[in-house]
């Protein structure tokens, strides 16, 4: 048989095989379970409320806060936050917010639940610069807006953190920076009242 005929048969055979191969979609961007788990355990995907407060106070223009609560529950957001409910993250208006390389997106919700879902979706799509604010607004309220005075035996770092949080609180709410200290005498001395002089010659 002549070489041309053999070659023709070989390439036609390749073509036939190709035609019979089932379609397969490989996605090199989406992470598999192990990689996703690794990402979730990686601390640099998260920002604590203290870090977010610091970024906001510094006025970093590259920070973009994204509130993923449903529109009906969108009340008292963080300053400059935009509301993108989880059901509209793929709408044309918002898709570009997540898929970009210039801004640092901080995703938060009331707690971690919704925000984690949104963050995982952005990770699976291969979008970069998306961070999760750990604890959501609940953590924000308890740590920044209403920090608790550390116990007397706490280490110095906790007192420093407390002072910083009180300063943040002043920045965000306008409340007084220093805590109102109620000085209550430990043991009030009873009976200081001047006693009438009894007896004598009056």
């Amino acid at each position: 048989m002549n070489a041309r005929v053999i070659l023709s048969i070989i390439v036609l055979g390749f073509g036939l095989t190709a035609a019979m191969l089932p379609d397969r979609k490989n996605d090199s961007i989406a992470l598999n379970e192990r990689e996703l788990l690794q990402e979730m355990l990686l601390a640099n995907n998260y920002l604590s409320v203290d870090e977010v407060a610091e970024l906001l106070i510094q006025g970093d223009p590259s920070v973009q806060l994204i509130d993923v609560r449903p529109a009906s529950e969108f009340k008292d957001p963080l300053p400059r936050a935009m509301n993108i409910p989880i059901d509209s993250i793929f709408s044309e208006n918002y898709a570009f917010v997540f898929d970009q390389s210039a801004m640092k997106n901080v995703i938060y919700g009331m707690d971690d639940q919704l925000a984690t879902q949104v963050w995982m979706i952005t990770k699976q799509l291969g979008y970069k610069n998306n961070y999760l604010m750990k604890g959501g607004l609940n953590a924000w309220k308890s740590n920044i807006l209403d920090p608790q005075y550390p116990s007397q035996t706490a280490p110095q770092e906790e007192f420093d953190l407390y002072a910083k949080r009180m300063a943040s609180r002043q920045f965000f709410t306008g409340a007084k920076a220093l805590p109102k200290v109620n000085i209550k005498p430990m043991m009030p001395v009873q009976g200081r009242k001047k006693k009438r002089v009894a007896g004598g010659c009056s």
């Binding site: 041309r4 023709s8 390439v11 036609l12 390749f14 073509g15 036939l16 190709a18 035609a19 019979m20 191969l21 089932p22 379609d23 397969r24 979609k25 490989n26 996605d27 090199s28 961007i29």
Partner: protein, 200 residues
Amino acid sequence: MGPIVPIFEISTELNFLIAFIIGIGFGFALEQAGFSSSRKLAGMFYGYDTTVLKVFFTAAIVAMIGLVFFNYFELIDMSIIYVNEYFVNSAIIGGVIMGVGFIVGGFCPGTSVCAAAIGKIDAMAYLGGSLIGIFAFGETYPLWKDIYMKNYLGGVKLSTTLGISDGLMVFGVIAMAVMMFWIGEWAEKKFRRPDITNEL
């Protein structure tokens, strides 16, 4: 598994270097196939030499078979492969200009660079003409912009438009290529001209 060279991870400079090396390989292959001879190229139009058809169809089917099988064995991610965007008007007008230029000048843009590199004067003139054309187009771009951008269809694939699988499309193109090889062979015999190999 993804592409061998991840697109997001390498710098533009390194990207250009890779393109440069691939470009040298491409030019070498063109020259080896005899594409630096305008008579060989023009032979395609008159039917006495169908090397152009054979080389390009071979390149196309090798790439197609490679992609389909790599995709099947999970060695490549087809979803992030760049598909050239389709501007209908530009494709038609550009095709006509390219075709006329090809038959008049005896080169296509790539092969003219190839032939100029081995010192052919007609290719250098052709290349100069191309550069003048590019410059003129660039300077008068606002005039053409509307026609140039009209009927934009995006990165469409023929298989998607026809609604068939990529594999079936590959088979169709291969069947067509094999048919064209045989027709080419037949045409070369029918429109045979004196051997020019020694003059090239």
